[in-house]
Symmetry: C2
Subunit: 192 residues, 2 copies
């Protein structure tokens, strides 16, 4: 039994190495640079090994996305914990979210933009992401008014997502970034 256990442990370790290599490579050179050949070279195994762990390249990216979700969730949670009053909590989360997207664009892409079969709003949503969403919802609760909290949260979240993606693609003036965030927060934290 012990031998088999060791093997499974090694296998799991290699799987983590694949995910880490994919993440690092993507963050360093973008997702285009993440090819199965380079990935295989990075972990010092041959290409087919990747396919014994993942169904394909998309699955690897999905795994990176799941892992990255935890980081994003942690940032959001920390921002919320650091806030003192409700409105500041919303602003803090918005800033943390935007900074995450700015600091780790490849990771953010894997989580939200890539045509990956990570269907959210359903069972296979990464647990961590669901938690982050729930945190955001709690933070927004005082400001939802008559609107359904989940729907309200989705809308605010979409605003954040739109801001960071459009800016990253060069569709928005970078120097106005913080002001746009402030406007979004302001508009979603008005009472009555």
């Amino acid at each position: 039994m012990s031998i088999q256990a060791r093997r499974e442990r090694e296998r799991a370790e290699r799987e983590r190495a694949i995910i880490a290599a994919a993440r690092d490579l993507a963050e360093a050179e973008g997702w285009d640079a993440v090819t199965t050949r380079r990935l295989a070279a990075e972990i010092e195994y041959s290409q087919p090994v990747l396919y014994s762990h993942f169904k394909g390249k998309d699955a690897i990216m999905a795994a990176v996305a799941v892992e990255g979700s935890a980081d994003l969730a942690a940032d959001v949670a920390a921002a919320r914990a650091a806030a003192t009053d409700p409105r500041q909590a919303v602003a803090g989360i918005a800033t943390a979210y935007a900074e995450f997207a700015d600091r780790r664009p490849a990771l953010y892409d894997a989580i939200f933009n890539l045509p990956v079969a990570l269907s959210f709003a359903s069972q296979d949503t990464p647990v961590e992401l669901a938690r982050a969403f729930a945190e955001l919802a709690e933070t927004l609760r005082p400001f939802a008014g008559d609107d359904d909290l989940e729907t309200f949260t989705e809308t605010f979240w979409s605003g954040l997502h739109g801001l960071v993606t459009l800016m990253r693609n060069g569709r928005l003036r970078r120097e106005e970034h913080e002001r746009r965030l402030a406007i979004l927060v302001d508009r979603f934290t008005r009472l009555g």
Copy 2:
């Protein structure tokens, strides 16, 4: 002179055929299906001909995006023209925008999502898109309050963009789509 004129005319016509073929193929089967070989077959020329018109595949997609911008701008303008009061104008534009993205996802992708060198907020923004943005800004003017109008418009636009992209990627509950749009419009059309 006349012969040369005819040639240039035919060349221009072929260029339009390339763009049209790319757009149709993308709308029918997605951008993954748009390969230079299929495109060449579609216009009944060989591959290298494409490269005598465009620098590469990205340039073709950019051309499709520019063309599509006109359609989007027309939809937005029509929605604004059909509205009677200011708030309804905003709601109408939001709906028109979302419907465009829903009806023509491939085109919308080309305009906003694809890693295309269509740097907006700069010179090479398609004229039509700039016009659409200006229309949106005028529609929002009564609600901008103390905020800079352009920045305010960018923020609202980002909200729309986030809503349509996250929903298309399956990150939002489809059945709540209209309610989210309503929340966004509501939050950006409050006075005082």
